[in-house]
C-alpha cells in the first residue's frame, strides 16, 4: 500500500467528509445565487452590487482586514517570540495570551461595548482622571472614526491568539542550534529573528495568515455590537438579506463574493509565502 496510493488514502476520510458536509450543501446554496424563480440569472449579483449599502460594506470589510491582520501578525509574532524566550513562567504567559481563544465573538463584542459605551469603563476612567467633564460619545453615529478604532482594538484583542498559538507551535520546531550558531557568530537578536526565525517559520506563518485573513472577511458580531448600523460589513449584509429581507438568492450572492475574496487572497498568500521543498529544514 506504500507508494502512490498512500497520500490519497490519507486524504480520503477528510475528502469524503467535506464532500458530504460541505460541498453538497455549498453547491445547493451556490446554485441559488445564480437562479431566481427557477431560471438562470445574474440578477442576484446585480441586486447585490446595486444596493446603496454595498460599496460601503465592501470597503469597510476590506479596510478592516487590511488594518487588523498586519497588526495581529506583528503582535502574534511578538507574543510567540516573547513566550519562546521566557525562562520561567512560560506556561503561564502562553496561557494568558491564549485566553481570548475561548471567548466567543458575541461575548467579545459585549466586553468591548462595556468599555467604549457612553457610560462605560473608559469614560469612567477618563472622568475619574479629570480628563473630561462629561462622558464622551465614542460610538455615536457621527464618530465613525472612533467606532472604527474601537472595532479594530476589539478584533485585535479577540483574534490575535489564533495566530499566536499556530506560531508558537511552529517556533517550537526550530532547532535551537541555529540560534546558538548565529549567536556564536555575533548576530544580533533582531538579525537572528529575521534571518533564522522568520524563514524557518514560513509554513506556520503561511497557515496563520491564511486562516486569519479568511476569518477577517467573516467579521460580524463585534462590528454589530460596537458599530450598530454605522459600520456595515459584507457578512452583516449577508445575514440581513438572508433573514430580514428573506431573499436567499441575494444572500447566496453575498456569500459567494466573500468566498471569492477569501479564495483570491488565499492564492496570493500561498504564492508569496510558498514553502519550497528544498527550503525545508
Amino acid at each position: 500500500m506504500h507508494g502512490k496510493a498512500l497520500p490519497y488514502l490519507l486524504l480520503m476520510p477528510a475528502t469524503l467528509f467535506l464532500c458530504v458536509f460541505f460541498l453538497y450543501p455549498f453547491a445547493l446554496v451556490a446554485f441559488e445565487a445564480f437562479t431566481r424563480d427557477g431560471g438562470f440569472t445574474l440578477d442576484n449579483f446585480r441586486t447585490m452590487t446595486g444596493n446603496w449599502k454595498f460599496p460601503v460594506a465592501f470597503w469597510n470589510t476590506i479596510l478592516l482586514a487590511a488594518i487588523v491582520v498586519p497588526i495581529q501578525l506583528v503582535m502574534a509574532l511578538l507574543m510567540a517570540t516573547v513566550v519562546s524566550r521566557l525562562e520561567t513562567g512560560r506556561g503561564a504567559a502562553l496561557y494568558i495570551f491564549a485566553i481570548p481563544l475561548g471567548i466567543s465573538d458575541l461575548a467579545a463584542g459585549l466586553i468591548w461595548l462595556a468599555i467604549f459605551d457612553q457610560s462605560g469603563f473608559l469614560n469612567t476612567l477618563l472622568s475619574n482622571l479629570g480628563l473630561v467633564d462629561r462622558p464622551v460619545m465614542f460610538l455615536g453615529y457621527q464618530s465613525k472614526l472612533t467606532i472604527f478604532v474601537a472595532v479594530i482594538l476589539a478584533e485585535i484583542w479577540r483574534a490575535t491568539a489564533i495566530m499566536m498559538v499556530i506560531l508558537v507551535a511552529g517556533m517550537g520546531l526550530i532547532p535551537r542550534e541555529y540560534h546558538e550558531a548565529a549567536e556564536v557568530f555575533g548576530a544580533s537578536p533582531w538579525k537572528r529573528f529575521v534571518k533564522i526565525t522568520l524563514p524557518l517559520l514560513r509554513p506556520s506563518l503561511q497557515t496563520a495568515i491564511i486562516l486569519r485573513v479568511i476569518l477577517a472577511f467573516e467579521v460580524f458580531a463585534v462590528v454589530a455590537a460596537l458599530g450598530g448600523t454605522n459600520l456595515p460589513v459584507l457578512m452583516g449584509e449577508t445575514y440581513n438579506w438572508q433573514f430580514s429581507l428573506q431573499d436567499r438568492n441575494v444572500a447566496a450572492a453575498f456569500a459567494l463574493l466573500i468566498l471569492a475574496i477569501s479564495v483570491g487572497l488565499t492564492l496570493f498568500f500561498l504564492r508569496v509565502l510558498r514553502v519550497p521543498k528544498e527550503a525545508r529544514i
Binding site: 446603496w52 461595548l113 459605551d117 457612553q118 457610560s119 462629561r134 460619545m137 460610538l139 455615536g140 453615529y141 457621527q142 464618530s143 454589530a224 460596537l226 458599530g227 450598530g228 448600523t229 454605522n230 452583516g236 445575514y239 438572508q242 433573514f243 430580514s244 429581507l245 428573506q246 431573499d247
Partner: protein
Amino acid sequence: MNALKTLAGAALALSMAIGGAQAQVLFWSTQARPVEETQKVRSEVLKSFDGQVDYQVAEDGPWLTRLQAELQAGSGTIGVLGGLHGDFSTVGANLVDLSGVDIGGVKLNEAYKKLGMLGTNEQKYLPWMQATFLMAANKQALQYLPAGADLNKITYDQLIEWSKNIAEKTGSPKFGFPAGPKGLKHRFFEGFLYPSYTGSMVTKFRSAEAETAWNKFKELWQYTNPNSTNYAFMQEPLLTGEVWVAFDHVARLADAFNQKPDEFVAFPAPAGPAGRGYMPVIAGVAIPKTSPDMDKAKALVAFMLKPETQIATLKATNFFPVVDVNLPDDMPASVKAFGPVIATMTGAPDALPALLPTGLGDLGGKFNQVYVDSFERIVLGGQDVRGVLEEQATALKALIDQAKAPCWAPDKPSEGACPVD
C-alpha cells in the same frame, strides 16, 4: 492515545443514547427571548398545560431556518409556532387552518383575528398576545417640558421642543430612539411618523406631507443621543441615564419600570397634523403542516388563549391579552404603568391606528427595509429628502405591485395593489 479512544467511544455511545422521547409538544418561538422571560413562560405560563410543552426560543434566523428545513424535509419536531405577524407571513402556505380550533367561550379580538388570515380565507395563525410602542421619560426630564404641554396629549412639535430644551439645559442630547441593528425603528416610521403626518403608510410615501415628516424627524434627531444607532432596547440607556426620553416597544421598556418604578413615566406616542398614529404589535400562534401531533398542538393553541394563560403571559412578557379578560391587581410595575397609557393613546380623540402590513408575503422584510433605508439615507447620511423619497418610492411601488397587496389601514381600501402616489 488510549485515553482518547476511550473518550471517543464513550462520547459516541452517549450521543446515541440521548434523543428519542418525544412525548412533549415543541413550542418554537421568536417571542420572550430574553432569558428571564423564557424562563417565566416555561415555569409560569405553560406549566399548567395538560401535557408537556418544551418552550424553545430562537432568533429570527435560526427560527426560520429550522422551520424551513422541516417543511422541506417533509417531517419535523416543531409542534406549535410562536411569532410576530411578520414572522408568519413568509410561511403562510405551510400553516394549518386553525379556524376549527375550539377556543371555548373566549372572545378574541376580531380585527387581529382577521390579520391572522394573512389575506387568505384560512385562519393561518391565531392572535396570541399584543403590545404597542409607547414613550417613556425619566422624571428628571419633566422640568424641561415646554409650557402648556400635556404629556397625555403631546405632539411631535412639543417633543422636539422638549428634547431641545433638555439638550440645551443639560448639555447633551437625551432623546433616545432604537435605531440599532436589532431596534424596531421601522415600525416607528411605518406606524407612527407616517400616519401622524400623512394619514397614510404607503399611498402618500413621497408626498409633501411625508417630506415634512422627515424634516421634523431630522430636527428631532439633532437632540437625539447619537448612540441611538446602537440601541436595540431603550430600557438600558434609560436605566443608565444616557437617555431621558425614549420611544420603544413596551416589552423593551419594561425592565426600566420594573427596576426603578419611581423614576420613569410612560406616555402616549405623539400626535402630528394628521392624528396620533400608532401601531399594534401582534404575536400569534400557528401550527406548521409538519407538526407531529396535530391534536396536541391544537390543544396547546387553545390553551394559549385561555384568560388565565393570557394573564400569566402578560406577567411574563409584558405583552397584553388579545381576549377579553379582567386584569387582577398583582401586576408588575411595568404593566401598571403601561396599561392606562395604552388606553389613553388608543382612546384619544385623534387616535389613528395603523395596521401591520398585510398581504406582502415574504416581501415583508423588504417593505421594512424601504423605511429603514429612507431613515439611514435621509437622517444618518444627510441625503436630500426629496431625492431619497423618490427613489425609495419606486422600490416601494415595485414591492407592493409584485405582492399585489391591497391597502391596509390607515390607507383607504383599494382595488388591486395599493397605489403609491
